[in-house]
Amino acid sequence: MAFHRLSTCAVALGEKGVALNEDTHSEILLHVNGVKHCLSVDNRTTLLDALRERVGHTGTKKGCDHGQCGACTVLCDGRRVVSCLMLAVAAEGAEVTTVEGLGGDGELLPIQQEFVRLDGFQCGYCTSGQICSAVGMLAEYAEGWPSAVTAPGSEPVLDAVEVRERMSGNLCRCGAYPSIVRAVLETAARGEVTG
C-alpha cells in the first residue's frame, strides 16, 4: 500500500484534534477490517492501544501488555501477532483483522459458531484472542507449517495434541481449553475455516 500523507484526513475522520508533533507523533493509515483509518498517533502507541482507544475496536483485549497471554492476538496480513508487542506505526501497510472483522454482518464464522455451541469460553476475555489465533493457526496448518510436536520430517496431522501446542500462546484462566480445542477441531473438520 502506498503511503499518502493526508494532512487533513484526521480531521475529516473526526479524530481528536491533536496537534501533530513531528518528533513524537506520526500520521498513519491503518487498514483495519477492510476500512482505512487515518490516525495521528503518539509514536509509543501500540497496535493494541490504537485499535482500542483510537479506532474504537475494543473487541481486542489487553491481558498483560507484554506478549505473555495472547488476549490481544489479531491477524496482520493473515498472520497471528500479539498486538501489544507491535507499534501502531509498524502496522502501517498491513491488513489488520480483529475479531470484529471476522464475521459478516450478523453472520458468525464457523469458528465463532463452534465456540458458542461447544462453550469454548466462560468469561470471554481471552476469546477474541483465542479465535483470531485459531484462524491464524488453521491457516498455518493448511500451509503445512510444522509445530514443536510434529514428528520431524512428517506432515503435520491436526489432532488435539497439535491444536494444544499451536494454541498455547493463548492463556485462558477460566479453563475452557478442552472446549476450545474441540471447537478448533470441529471447525477444521467443517473445512471452511473463514467462511
Binding site: 476475555y125 476469546t127 477460566c174
Partner: protein, 693 residues
Amino acid sequence: MSGAAPAVGVARPRVEGPAKVTGRARYAADVPMADLAFGIVVVSTVTRGRIRDIDVAAVQDMPGVLGVIDHRNAPRLNPDAGHFFGPDGGLQLLQDDVIPHAGRPVALVVAETLEQARAAAEALPVTYEVLPHDTDFSADHPAGRAAMALFDGPVDVGDVDRELAASAVVVRERYFTPEEHCSAMEPHSATAWWEGERLQAVDSNQGPFFIATVVATLFSLPLEQVRIRTEHVGGGFGSKGLCGPQLVLAVMGAMHFARPVRVTLSRNQVFLTTAMRPAIEQMVRIGADDDGRLRAIHHEAAFELSPLAEYIEGCTELTKTLYATPALRTRLTAVPLDILPPYSMRGPGAAPGSFALECAMDEVAERLGIDPLELRLRNEPTVGPASGLPFSTRNLVACLREGARRFGWASRDHRPRMRREGPLLVGTGLAATSFSVGAFPSTASITAEPDGTFTVVVNATDLGTGARTALTAIAADALAVGAEKVRLRISDSDFGPAWSAGGSRGTTSWAWAITEAAAKLRSSGDQGTVTVDTAQLLNDLPSRERHSYSAVFAEVTVDPATGEVRVRRLLGMFAVGRVVNPLMARSQVIGGMIGGLSMALHEEGVRDPVSGRHINADFAGYHISAHADVPDIEADFVPDYEPGIPMGIKGAGEIGNVGTPAAIANAVWHATGSRQRALPIRPDRVIEEHPLQ
C-alpha cells in the same frame, strides 16, 4: 400457564455467546466515554518503609499530564470501610506516607492519553526510607496467633491423643502451599465520573451492590449517591470480590480532576495489589484401625495475612464434614507479615485444605495396604462429625463409585512405581472432596410487562459463570413461561442488595430471590411489579450439613530424568444439586479442575527474601496452565438435589478446584513412590538422580 418446556436442566449455549465471540461484549475498560482521562498507578518498590518524597514537579509539565494524586492531596477516606472480615486497611490508599507491603499504590498519575500517563508514571521520582520487613512465612513464626473464628473456628471432638495412641497406624505429615494469584485474564479496570451529585463508575468486580456500599463508606457518601455498574467481567476467582485499588483511585481521580478517569491495573499490578491466596503450612495427623476405620483426625493450618485486614483461609472446614471419626481436632493460625492482605481465591480454604487431608488419607491407605477408594467408603459419616447435624443430601459415595467405574479404578495395582511406559513412570490417584453450599440474602424484582414478557431484575454478576443464562432459565421455569419471555437485568448497584458472585453462593442466592418473586407475582395474577428480599426465608432454613461433593481421579506420567509431571487423564464426578445448565456446569467444573491442575503443577508466587518483593509477578514468571498442559477432561454429574434451596440447586463454582491437587499428588506418588507434600510439584522436587533403576 403456557405449559412451556422447562428451561432448567437443559444444555444451552450462553445467551451472551454471540457477543463474546464477535468482540461486542463490553468489559470495564471497553466502555466509551467522552472527555476521558487515563490514570496510571505508581506502586511502592520497597516492602516496608516510608515515602520520603514524591517529586510531582518532575512530571507535572510532561505532555498531557493533568496531575498527580498522592498522600498529600488525596481525599481523606473513612477507615471503617471494609468487607466480610471487618475494616480493611488495604482500602486506605494514599492516606499517609507508610508503606506496609511491596506494591502498595503510592500515587496516581493522570494524563490525557494512556501513553502520556504511562510515561509520566514511569518518570515519577519516588524516594523511600526503607525499614526492615518480615515476609518469611512459617507455621511456627512467633507472630502467629489464632485466626479469627467467624467461620472454620477450632473444633474439639473426642480425645484425639487417646484415639491416636490406640490406632493401628498413624500418619503425621506437613504440607505446604505457596502464595497463589487469582490471575483473571481481565486486569482490574474502573472508570469513574460525576453526573451531577452522583458518583458513577463502571468497574470489574464480583458484586456491584457490595462494592457500592464500600465506596460509599470509604468516601463518606450516602449510598444513593453512588452507582456502580459492571457489564461483562473477565473472570474474578476471588480477586474482584473486594473493592479494588483501580476503583478507589479512579474515584479519587474523578473527584480531583472533575472529569471521567479510567484506571486499569497493569498485569504486574494485578499480581501486586489484588487478592492472592496466602502461603499455607498444614499439619495433619490421622489414626486408623487395621480395617481402615478412622479413629482420629487432627488438622492444623497456618496461613499468612497482613496486619491491615483480617482474613480466614478455612483449610480445616472440609475436615469437619468429610469423614466419620470419633475424635477430631482443628486449629487455624494466622501469621501477620508485611504482605498484601490475602483474600479468597477460587476454592478458598478447601483447595489447600483438601490437598493436605486427601494426601494424608492416601498415606493411611498405603500404610494399611488397602484401596484408597475403599478407605473413603469405609468412613462415610451418618451425621456431621463435628456438628452432629444431619446431611441435607450426601452423594459422595455415588461420586466415588461412578467415577471409579468410568476411570477403570478397579484394575489399579495399588503398589507404587509398578507401571512404566518407556522412560516414563505412570500412576493414578484420587481424592474425595466437599464444598459447603448455601445462600445469602438477596433481593429481586419481577415486572409483568404489557406485552406478555417479564423483566427480572436481580443484582447478579456474570464473571463467566453463566449467571445470565442460568438465571434466565430459572426465572422462566419459576414463571412457567418460555425463556424468550424473560428479560434479565443484572449488575447495577441501583438494582438493590444481593449477594456477590462468590463463595459458591451466587446462583443459589439470586435464584432464591427470583423464585420467590415469581411465586408472589403468579399468586397476584401476573400483574405489576413484585419485589422480594430473602433475608427472612434464609433465617427459617433449618440447620443442616449442606455440601456439594466430588471425586476426582487423575492419571499422570512422570519423567524421572527431568522431573516433568504431565496429567494424562483427569475425571471428576460431581454432586452439585440440580444442574441448571449441563453445558455450562460442565465447563465450570472442568475449569475448576484445570485450576486445580495448575495449582498442583505450576503456580507459585515467589518472593525474594532480601527485598521481600515478588520476583515472578507476570505471566512469564508465574505459570498458569496453558493449552498444552491440559488433557481432555471428563466431568459429569451424579443425580443430586438440595431440598432446602429452591429448584434444588447447589453451588458449583469452587468445588472443581478442590480435590484435583491431591488427586494429582497421589498419582505422582503412585507413579514414583515418592510423596509430594509441597505444591507446586516442580521438576526439581521430582527429579531422580538415578531414574528407573
